[in-house]
Subunit: 218 residues, 2 copies
Amino acid sequence: MQISFDEELGGLKEKILLMGSKVEEAIRLAMKSLVDRDTKLSRQIIRDDRDINDLEIEVDETCHRLLALHQPMASDMRFITSAMKINSDLERIGDMAVNIAERAITLNELPPLKPLIDIPRMASIAQEMVKVALDSLVNRDPVAAKKVCERDDEVDNLNDQIIRELLSYMIEDRAAITRALNLIFISRYLERIADHATNVAEDVVYMVQGKDIRHRRG
Amino acid sequence: MQISFDEELGGLKEKILLMGSKVEEAIRLAMKSLVDRDTKLSRQIIRDDRDINDLEIEVDETCHRLLALHQPMASDMRFITSAMKINSDLERIGDMAVNIAERAITLNELPPLKPLIDIPRMASIAQEMVKVALDSLVNRDPVAAKKVCERDDEVDNLNDQIIRELLSYMIEDRAAITRALNLIFISRYLERIADHATNVAEDVVYMVQGKDIRHRRG
């Protein structure tokens, strides 16, 4: 039995959302493995990234098939090309969760540097941005998508503040340097997750309005 | 006068290559602005990134037009969808050059920490990877493209080595911390340039062979 274009398009949307929920979960668990100092969990996140990578290839293949076998109308075409980009951003968010988990493994071997407050806060904003960006895709809601883009500055500021604080730890105590540097990397990974969520949101705006809002900020 | 599909496809290839030469130049100049402590040049790179961003939007529009108005054959379709991805990787390489230029501005205000040897070496490998990846696109040469992917490990190792060395500077002398941290960030930006060049090369392999080699390494 042949699958219709609309069915295949629906399947594509579902796969993107599945991938989205997997990367959201990966961010959440990577942060949990850091805060709870749970190296077993960190390793699980690194292992589970394979599923996200496999999904990326599947989504790409579906997009190519849809473009090749059908002649999609303008709005479907924009959905498919946006899906290809969103796919790649989601996969990279998964990679960032892996990077965080790897740093957590190093940090879990060392005594805690300080109670973690700002980094988990930054993580929950980044995670929320991914969630809202994907909701805006499902609801074809450019207003919600633009709100995601606006939050990017908040994350950038938090990242600057975290790096400044960790720098002062490093200067005060050389024994803190390795730990502070690993936390600085984690903060940067979270900032990049927020950047990727912003890319997804920009793609949603393009998809719905056919208008490119990249490089128009700031 | 209407432009033919083949002419428009040729124009797309030219734009991608123009973008490639602009980002290669941006990496080269960003490194020069760091080594020569030339803040004026750093600022120029930041300004000139706008041209790369404009080109990104142009390339994307061309790809969408080609997909929407024509019904490309399988191999042309793969070229167009690969062009969309390569476009986005090149734009991000431009962003990395901007990030390097920004760190150079900070470093140029401070006394030199050490003679820069490994970082410029890493930069020239990363720049070479971008160049070979784009040549492999022009020549539709998957063998050359795969060689780019192989060099990624070399850059990763160099990055690890640079970070270890800078860490030891930080631990020895607290006055070195800010400068060492900025150099660590630069090393990471170069590593990400190499990652993006690897993505481009993987897209070339896919484009030519219709085979997805992502996540098959290591």
